[in-house]
Amino acid sequence: MSVPRFWRNLDSRYNLEGTHCTECGEYFYPPRKTCVNCRRLGQIEPYRFKGTGEIVTYTVIRTAAEGFEEQAPYALAIIKLDEGPSLTAQVVGSPEKVHIGMRVSSVFRKLGEGGDRGMIYYGTKFIPADA
């Protein structure tokens, strides 16, 4: 992950900030600058998500992605936020407890470390909502 690629999404990663189209009412996370429904006729404004949602599907990654080796095994899930959009994120805690339909809420956590530069990346993960 290059530093610019990380930095330009800082608000989105740290604060779960996405966008909202006031024309059709759809919410976007990750943020989009063009509405998928209205395209250039949409009116896009920033929106900070509440951070609560439900697990649509998940997996437990055992052969980790590059830079995530120390975290394996880790639960990775597609989470549908209550406002509508879905995102891909890790679920913290015991992978065995994760299940489809589970309510989760967002937390600020370390995501990983960037190779030889040794950068530490922070962002959003999720925990069980009742935890």
Partner: protein, 390 residues
């Protein structure tokens, strides 16, 4: 628009070809295909090469020019050469570009090739290159891997439709059985359901034997206008449809995680163009990068109802001799999946079958064949329908 035919085909051996370079294997496939077609370099009007990640796998970009050069098509003939990229659908897309060139009249004899050399880097680096077919910023950053994305498809498919790990394993078992009959396949050994289920878990519920391997290989096709195809070969195979569709790059943005809408749309467009339906197709090569991908493909292409792909496979309907033989070549699972080459290799298999030259894996009396090539977790799908009769 003109009708288009395939007049020459060639696959290299698929596998770990450490002693050979990217340019070597493409040239072997290309020369094999033009010899099969009985054409010469002077006849070739254009070349398209499907290649996903030359820059990552062999640190070489500008693949179109490289391949034209080492095929002897550059210095004196100056044949236009174009690299085509759509992740693992690069090959299928190269074929589509070649078809459009012939159909439009911008070229007559056109070569479509596909190639990838994946074993020149370590498996970690190869996995990282493949992960670039997903959304690096919003999937990769969260720790997603390619098997991880397809595992999430599998998990929901199992949850919603009752698909089992055994049914997923049956895909791999069948494709290995077919691969034993294909001389170019990387793996020519039978495996059992138990072996799949006891292999290392990569990302729950997918085991390593649910995944296609890292492979080197190349394939090539020669195309001509249908009206002159008989001048080159007694067995031209005709293109009845070429179709392509896109979907969101990230899996999390899909309408339905268990359906590849790009496959559904590409198939719909292909059936309409060919004026055919799923019941008319005699065999199909589908994109089984993971076992769950084949289950989704037989559903998305209309061969069985949504959610029934697992049981359809378990009941043998996708085996040679079943209702719709799927991946007679051995698929990506047994042939190996040199990403940019796969789409062309699939077409080579269908042409071989429709010519009646597939030997022990021949589907008797095959008239119509289909090839289905997917990029990423379903952001690109390319579907072709081929026919023995014009």
């Amino acid at each position: 628009m003109r009708d288009v035919a395939i007049i020459g085909v060639k696959n290299t051996k698929f596998g770990e070809l450490w002693e050979r370079s990217l340019r070597d294997i493409v040239v072997e496939a290309g020369i094999g295909a033009i010899e099969d077609a009985g054409v010469g370099g002077k006849d070739i009007n254009a070349l398209y090469v499907g290649n996903m990640s030359g820059g990552r796998f062999v640190d070489q970009e500008h693949i179109g020019a490289l391949i034209a050069d080492y095929s002897g098509l550059s210095r004196n003939l100056h044949v236009p050469a174009t690299r085509v990229e759509a992740a693992c659908a690069s090959g299928g897309l190269a074929l589509r570009q070649a078809i459009m060139t012939v159909a439009s009249g911008y070229g007559d004899i056109v070569v479509a090739a596909g190639a990838e050399k994946m074993t020149d880097v370590g498996s970690e680096e190869a996995s990282s290159a493949l992960a670039a077919a997903a959304d690096r910023e919003w999937e990769g950053m969260a720790g997603a891997t390619f098997p991880g994305l397809y595992s999430m498809i599998a998990k929901l498919h199992m949850h919603r439709y009752g698909t089992t790990s055994e049914q997923l394993a049956e895909v791999a078992v069948k494709n290995h059985r077919n691969g034993c009959l294909n001389p170019i396949a990387q793996y020519r050994n039978e495996i059992t359901v138990d072996q799949v289920l006891n292999s290392i878990m990569v990302a729950d519920p997918l085991h390593i034997f649910d995944c296609s391997p890292i492979t080197d290989g190349a394939a090539a096709l020669v195309l001509a206008p249908a009206e002159v195809a008989h001048e080159y070969t007694d067995t031209p195979i005709y293109i009845k449809a070429t179709a392509q569709a896109s979907d969101t790059i990230a899996l999390h943005d899909r309408r339905d995680i268990t359906t590849l809408d790009a496959s559904v749309m590409a198939a719909k467009r292909a059936y309409e163009m060919a004026k055919l339906g799923p019941g008319d197709i005699d065999l199909v090569e589908v994109h089984d990068c993971f076992t769950i991908a084949e289950i989704c493909a037989v559903e998305d292409l209309g061969f069985t109802e949504k959610g029934k792909g697992g049981i359809f496979t378990e009941e043998g309907e996708t085996a040679i001799g079943g209702r719709i033989p799927v991946n007679t070549s051995g698929g990506l699972k047994a042939c190996g999946h040199p990403v940019g080459a796969t789409g062309i290799k699939q077409a080579v298999e269908i042409v071989t079958q429709l010519r009646g030259e597939a030997g022990k894996r021949q589907v008797e009396g095959a008239e119509y064949g289909m090839a289905h090539n997917v990029g990423g977790s379903g952001a690109t799908a390319v579907v072709h329908i081929f026919s023995r009769e014009r």
